[in-house]
Symmetry: C2
Subunit: 379 residues, 2 copies
């Protein structure tokens, strides 16, 4: 039995993949209607930060893994010492703390932006004195999909924003000159074997991933650099299962933006686009089974997220999207909310442009909104 | 809600595919441990031939479909007249009766072997007088995976076998000169659109499908013939969802062997090997949604069934099978029994030989038995 803490779309797609291997899954959900509940073998309702609920949940699990990082690392470390197999480990999960992540990556010599970890506005001002305004501030924990990220233009904004965070730790960095964002997924097993997925370019808007395109069309030298860095980080921190490493491409080369120690939105394309999906490889990795082939199953693969529309939006048109040849629709069965990730659409093609056009056409048919006009980043 | 009568591996893989489209599934199972129960949204335990259980099950289903054909057609026809959407229809499901199938296909001019429908040994003897011994006898209902199929060499065997069938209807046909067996899957929706999968060659042993290879390497004229016949049968009988049409290739051309009005073992390769799997297209078809692209996702795709071994066989080695690069393992979580279909392994490749070698290598690793020595049929 694989226990998954959390029952969102990542747990849903992991449980769906586990069915093929006859691996039973149990999810720790907030509500019985959470996305993963229909796909999992068993469901428990509870708060992962309630020690008693967590203890109950992990009992009988051969291995425990995660759909999200909102779990107290101390609590996890404790159940680990009690002999529960937590994969990735509590120590790896700690890397979802952006401050810890930056400090550790810098200490190991991985390329990160200039940064500081601060709790007061005056520290932000001091950072700006050295690096200039604007300053990008990210809460160390609790942020996702653009939440908890602030662009501070001046001292007043720093005072207002940091003051509002009531002493929470914040990572500050300069506004970088970013020409593209890419992500590398590494699957790894405890015995040390790892497998790296082809790099994807991610297209973001307001901090939310809108689309991914595989393979990323970036300079081969940068590609090799990023791949080596991602693999080296996975080994250095001892990741198990999937580790997503997001990079910025800047005039100074590739810079690590962020890690996510779990299946990741930037890897949803692998369900149809890679020989083995990130979800199956996460299951294989945490069970210490041989990892599957991570190569592309098509020349190019594009993924477009389905985001919740305005309350006035017309009902979604699933048959409309399915009428687009080659479009694969994945719905998470989540209540809608503007901007919320409700599903994704993947399409393969002979090249990136065709694949992206197919995915966007299906998305436009699904939501009834005009097709995205963003263009493929080009190097 | 899609209701699936039966909860075997076909229902399991259909429910697994339905998760992506956020389509809820409910299965009518014999036991809560049946293969599909972990993948379905809801489970009811009951006998589909118990009118009360069937009535309870279909309540609240938008559409009802099948994992197997062991349902009383009269009962189905009755719930249909009560307004339940049964897809494929009771009339189509009736084609799983081999006698009905042969009579109807012959009446519509489709190529079938010489045949008769008999209940007595003396009728078999009369058939042999016209067509010579041996005679192949197949029970009209209740046979699968080689059960209910008998090769009768002479009058004594006919008397013994037919006598033992206590008046059940039997289809008799001559022993044909079969150079290969192929299968064509047609997906169809009520509005009439259909999509045909690339033809596969099936490798059988003792009436059990051991392997499939796509695309089948047969003469293009025969391929076109078989494809047209399959599509025409689907339209003639009004199939909805997947219809599998199995053909014999004989010196007289292609001959229809058998129909199966549901996802079929000869289409398991489509999960990884086609752009849209037979399971997703079955769901789309019965919901009258646009059908997905049925083309190959790789140059060649091979599937090998995992059959239960002897009681003395060593435990299955899933990690061993997963160590074969590109092997996709699907386990059905069924109790083992010699010869029982417990799962399947799919592998893609640059050509049929490589794909088949990969699938066989993984199967041999899984079961610990020597690799199959059968060779690819070659035209």
């Amino acid at each position: 039995m694989v226990g998954i803490i959390g029952a969102g779309q990542l747990a849903r797609m992991t449980a769906q993949a586990a069915i093929s291997l006859a691996v039973d899954t149990k999810v720790l959900a907030v509500l019985p209607t959470d996305p993963a509940c229909v796909a999992a073998t068993a469901v428990e309702i509870g708060d992962p930060n309630d020690p008693a609920a967590l203890q109950r949940f992990v009992a009988g699990c051969d291995v425990v893994t995660f759909d999200h990082e909102r779990v107290d690392p101390t609590l996890l470390a404790r159940i680990e010492t009690e002999g529960v197999r937590v994969r990735p480990s509590a120590a790896v999960l700690h890397f979802s703390d952006k401050a810890h992540q930056r400090v550790e990556l810098a200490a190991h010599g991985f390329p990160v932006p200039p940064f500081d970890v601060v709790t007061t506005a005056s520290e932000v001002v001091a950072f700006a004195a050295a690096h200039d305004w604007p300053v990008v501030a990210k809460t160390a924990v609790g942020g996702y999909d653009g939440r908890g990220v602030f662009v501070l233009e001046n001292r007043d904004q720093a005072v207002a924003t940091i003051g509002g965070l009531a002493g929470r730790r914040v990572v500050v960095e300069p506004m970088l000159d970013i020409s593209a964002e890419i992500a590398v997924l590494v699957a790894r097993r405890p015995s040390g074997d790892s497998a790296v997925y082809p790099m994807v370019e991610t297209i973001q808007h307001d901090g939310i991933c809108l689309e991914t395109i595989a393979p990323a069309t970036i300079d081969p030298d940068l590609r090799t650099q990023a791949r080596n860095i991602a693999e080296s980080i996975a080994e250095t921190i001892g990741s198990v299962g999937i580790l997503a490493v997001e990079f910025f491409i800047t005039p100074d080369g590739v810079i690590v933006n962020e890690l996510a120690p779990r299946p990741h939105n930037s890897g949803h394309w692998t369900i149809e686009g890679a020989i083995t999906s990130q979800f199956e490889n996460h299951v294989r990795g945490i069970l210490d089974w041989p990892l599957g082939d991570t190569s592309l199953a098509a020349p190019a693969v594009a993924m477009a997220n389905i985001l919740g529309g305005a309350p006035s939006a017309r009902p979604d048109d699933l048959p409309g999207a399915l009428s687009v040849s080659g479009a694969h629709v994945h719905l998470y069965a989540k209540p809608t909310r503007p901007g919320r990730k409700l599903g994704h659409i993947t399409a393969t093609g002979p090249d990136q442009t065709v694949a992206l056009h197919r995915a966007r056409t299906a998305l436009a048919a699904f939501t009834g909104t005009p097709m995205s006009k963003g263009t493929l980043h080009d190097h």
